[in-house]
């Protein structure tokens, strides 16, 4: 292998950090198949035994005008032979299909990155389209990077010529040509992509063969040019993986599987009622594909109808589930109050996005925590849990459903746009080891009022129409705590209010104690929730390695908090709460635990970077005296 600037850099990294990982970013027009390239590269990387984390970053426009800056779609992956928990702060390889894709992503790049461009896209017209006065390939813009200019479009057209496609269809094969080259660069297998192409275009031989040819041609180009020293192949070692089966999984897939799994564990059928909204729609799509696994899906006429039909299903004996993002959750709010008051189980998923109002639908944020915990009329508490990563959605969904069925309450599960779309390598859990989920269904000897409640969970009897023992009426008007009849009695309303509070508090009796995810107590505690997990994990790990006394506590349970959390946080000298909002968990912790916390807030629609969190840790933490295990 010849040493290029690029391969030198890899060697430097290897020596420096004792690991090999890369951050690759694909960027182009929405129509360039960027997300597809990213997904295929992800699969290849996983099958090559690398750990990985990905982040699609696409515009809200479905097919924005070609070549514009706002139309750029990107996909970033970090993969390598070590534990990977984030898609990476800074790409070291950028593949840009046009000038706009180059220019909007340039700022993200690490110094001395490799920039691979489709040279044929840098025409005067397309430079203008990207609002560029001069050609960045020639004007010194890329002086700090290693630029590889390849005429991908024409090489693709040449390669697929034997298949007789029209020019437009031929050009469309360039994403596979580029993918073939990138797969070669990192010595990743082509087979999964070949299988994908064969399945996708099973009924169109011409397109199928042309795409396979393009993929192989890109790969061959790499092999041939290795001798020219332009490019060098790099073999990335496998990650230290456990002796289990792994798969790649996105947050939306994992959440869908978790919901279905919870239904199986509870021996309960599910009705998933939802309304399309970015970035929550993918959950509806995935569950619609799982309808032979005990879930029916219903696309309602609006957000309100979605939650109401889900509650109707819960009233009728199936577990209702609904999902949305912030604006849609706002519309569902009144119905959530009804579910609380009628003591019915319900799962509500909020895939958070950048707000307020419509905000930035395709960008991520964690700014709906207040809405989840506090956002209803009346004293209307309900449990709130949050998933920390794509794969964690599986267990978090099971946990949320367990709470809903055990306590007869709606439960809000928070994820976000990043978690929903990102993917990671997941050691598939041993599902046979999962405990079954208890419900409040009446046993065969039960009789009397459905408002008999379990003294530990305060869950009432979940009787359903069709059962002649429990014919009952319930509604949104305050009801008598014993009989369930309408009651305007003052003492009764106080008692019902106390009951609703006690119910949510009782959830804490059933959740595992909060543990330290990583590191040490005694110094700085980084307390976080949701999708910042991977970033905080890496930043804390780096800080520990550099000798700082820091620990990482990541919360799944937002309301109620784990019962030992106050005691755990008291063991830190300083507490830092990094989050993608203006300090919502920080406020909650101050309110519930009366602790002093430092804030790190970012509300830009982009995830926190490891660099940002690490810098804040360095500012607040002191060196430690203890030995830290790996």
């Amino acid at each position: 292998m010849r040493a290029s600037f690029f391969t030198q850099k890899i060697k430097v990294q290897q020596e420096h950090a004792g690991k090999i990982s890369h951050v690759v970013r694909f960027a182009g027009d929405s129509g360039d198949g960027i997300q597809l390239q990213g997904q295929q590269f992800t699969v290849a990387s996983a099958l090559a035994g690398h750990d990985l984390a990905t982040m699609p970053d696409f515009p809200a426009e479905i097919r924005a005008p070609a070549g514009t800056r706002y139309g750029v779609s990107a996909f970033q992956i970090q993969f390598g032979g070590d534990r990977i928990t984030t898609p990476g702060d800074e790409p070291d390889v950028l593949i840009a299909f046009n000038p706009a894709a180059l220019i909007v992503n340039l700022g993200h790049l690490a110094p001395h990155s490799m920039v691979l461009v489709d040279e044929s896209a840098f025409t005067e017209q397309r430079l203008k389209r990207a609002d560029l006065a001069s050609n960045p390939l020639e004007d010194g813009t890329l002086a700090n990077h290693e630029v590889v200019k390849i005429d991908i479009t024409h090489l693709t057209i040449e390669a697929v010529k034997p298949h007789g496609l029209g020019n437009k269809d031929a050009v469309r094969c360039k994403n596979f040509w580029a993918l073939g080259l990138i797969l070669w660069m990192f010595d990743q297998p082509r087979e999964p992509t070949q299988e994908w192409i064969k399945a996708k275009f099973a009924n169109n031989e011409q397109i199928r063969e042309a795409n396979l040819t393009a993929l192989n041609a890109g790969h061959a180009y790499g092999e041939n040019t290795e001798f020219s020293q332009v490019l060098a192949q790099e073999h990335i070692p496998e990650a230290p993986l456990d002796a289990v089966e792994y798969r790649t999984i996105t947050g939306a897939e994992s959440l869908a599987l978790g919901i279905v799994a919870a239904g199986e564990l509870a021996d309960t059928e599910l009705m998933f009622c939802s309304y399309p909204i970015t970035p929550a729609s993918s959950l509806l799509h995935h569950l619609t594909g799982l309808q032979d696994a005990g879930v029916g899906t219903f696309q309602a006429e609006d957000e309100i109808a979605a939650v109401c039909s889900a509650i109707g299903a819960s009233y009728a004996g199936k577990l209702g589930v609904t999902s949305s993002s912030g604006p849609g959750i706002a519309l569902k709010t009144e119905a959530l109050g009804l579910a609380v008051v009628t003591e019915l189980p319900l799962l509500v998923v909020n895939v958070q996005r950048a707000g307020p109002s419509t905000g930035m639908p395709t960008k991520t944020e964690q700014s709906d925590l207040y809405q989840a915990v506090y956002g209803r009329n009346g004293d209307t508490p309900l449990p709130v849990v949050a998933a920390r990563s794509p794969a964690d959605c599986f267990d978090t969904a099971i946990e949320a459903v367990s709470i809903a069925l055990r306590h007869m309450t709606p439960v809000i599960l928070l994820t976000d746009g990043y978690i929903a779309n990102a993917s990671e390598l997941w050691p598939i859990p041993d599902f046979d080891q999962y405990p079954t989920i208890d419900t409040c269904r009446p046993d065969e000897n039960a009789t009397g009022s459905v408002f008999q409640r379990n003294p530990q969970t305060h869950g009432r009897i979940w009787a359903s129409p069709g059962d002649e023992r429990f014919v009952y009426r319930v509604g949104g008007i305050e009801k008598d705590i014993v009989s369930g009849n309408i009651s305007y009695d003052a003492d009764n309303h106080q008692a019902m209010t106390d009951l609703r509070r006690a119910k949510v508090e009782s959830v804490a009796d059933f959740i595992p104690p909060q543990t330290l995810d990583q590191g040490l107590t005694g110094g700085l505690g980084v307390v976080a929730w949701g999708s910042t997990y991977g970033t905080v994990y890496q930043a804390v790990k780096d800080a520990l390695n550099s000798g700082l006394q820091v620990g990482h506590v990541h919360l799944r349970h937002i309301n109620p908090l784990a019962p030992n959390l106050g005691e755990l946080l008291a063991r830190f000298e300083t507490i830092l709460v990094p989050e993608l909002n203006n300090g919502q968990l920080a406020t909650l912790l101050r309110d519930r635990l009366n602790v002093k916390v430092e804030q790190l807030n970012k509300v830009s629609g982009q995830p926190l970077t490891v660099t940002e969190v690490r810098a804040e840790i360095q500012r607040l933490a002191s060196p430690h005296m203890q030995e830290v295990g790996s």
Binding site: V43, D242, T248, D292, G296, E301, I311, E334, D432, Y472
Partner: protein, 329 residues
């Protein structure tokens, strides 16, 4: 089980409507329809929204769900999807069903969810103390329209037929002779059976339907339509409805006058939505009975015909699919 009487469908709850409210007689009519129609309390669900009418589920001995304003059709759709075997009634009013909840009613109707929707139309907001509603006549004086309302009212029948209803019927609160039978027909219809019941709000809109409902004049102001029968009404069926082909409208004619014979009178075809629309919007006389009834598969039957009704795939199997990397050696 012995046949149930209408009393078996009453609850121990004190009925709290105003004395003289039309809802009392509707409640009776519903209870009688449940008994006569062979409904079972345990298999029947009454779902309602918010308003005076929506209190009704508390007074029916069946499963009942008093929900939130305007959303009853959405809750009922969820109930029906979860358990299509249940007999589901939706109780709503002109404010609940046509103002705040117009969207849900529209979509229940177009989907043809197998629900029996009873819309109590009193042309006023009762429970919030008398504001004008979307069915109030122009010029209605109310606390929010002291100079008379200027809104154009919505015709519930036109709304329903426009939304693709498969069943539309109309009745009057005090007409206990025909209401129970009509409600049984609604119950037996596959799909959304939409019934408008003209209801007298004795406090805020007293006698607003006197021009239609008053017993003394009912024979002249109402036409009880029956499928396959000529559209005749009035004393001794001396009047009838004729189609004016120039204006495409119905006109009331007197048999024997101007050479009109029974051959000129339209025969009711309840399967014809165009005729149903004309009848729904007719004033003088006002049409009662089953105005539209046509066959179409219900939403939930089509829904469950298209997908498995039981769990076939196990989660273990689903977990181990996709892009797998097997490190178990």
């Amino acid at each position: 089980m012995a046949d149930l009487s209408f009393k078996d469908f009453a609850t121990d709850q004190e009925v709290r409507w105003c004395p003289g409210c039309g809802d009392y007689s509707i409640l009776k009519g519903v209870q009688r329809a449940l008994a006569d129609g062979g409904s079972k309390p345990e298999n029947t669900v009454f779902v309602s929204g918010i308003g005076c009418s929506s209190r009704l589920p508390y007074y029916i001995n069946s499963y009942g769900f008093h929900t939130i304003h305007g959303r009853a059709p959405a809750f009922a759709t969820g109930v029906k999807l979860a358990n299509p075997e249940l007999e589901v009634w939706v109780i709503t009013g002109d404010g609940d069903g046509l103002s705040i909840g117009g969207n849900h009613l529209l979509h229940a109707l177009r989907r043809n969810v197998n629900l029996n929707v009873l819309l109590f139309n009193n042309e006023i907001y009762g429970l919030t103390k008398g504001q004008y509603s979307p069915t109030s006549r122009p010029g209605t004086v109310s606390p929010t329209s002291p100079d008379g309302s200027v809104d154009h009212p919505l015709s519930p029948g036109q709304f329903a037929i426009g939304a693709g209803a498969t069943f539309f019927a109309r009745s009057v609160d005090i007409d206990q002779k025909t209401m129970p039978g009509l409600l049984i027909e609604a119950k037996e219809h596959e799909g959304t059976a939409f019934v408008e019941i003209l209801q007298n709000c004795i406090v805020y809109n007293k006698d607003v339907f006197d021009d239609v409902a008053a017993k003394k004049t009912a024979v002249e102001t109402q036409i009880h339509v029956q499928h396959g029968q000529p559209l005749l009404y009035g004393k001794d069926n001396g009047k009838g409805l004729r189609l004016n082909p120039q204006s495409l409208s119905l006109e009331s004619v007197v048999l024997g006058e101007d050479g009109v014979t029974e051959d000129d009178i339209l025969v009711h075809d309840e399967t014809n939505p165009t005729l149903a629309l004309l009848l729904a919007n007719l004033h003088g006389p006002t049409a009662m009975g089953v105005i539209l009834r046509r066959k179409q598969a219900s939403f939930e039957s089509a829904y469950w015909d298209a997908r498995p009704t039981e769990r076939r795939k196990k989660v273990v199997e689903l977990l181990h699919t996709g892009n797998l990397l097997d490190r178990r050696k």
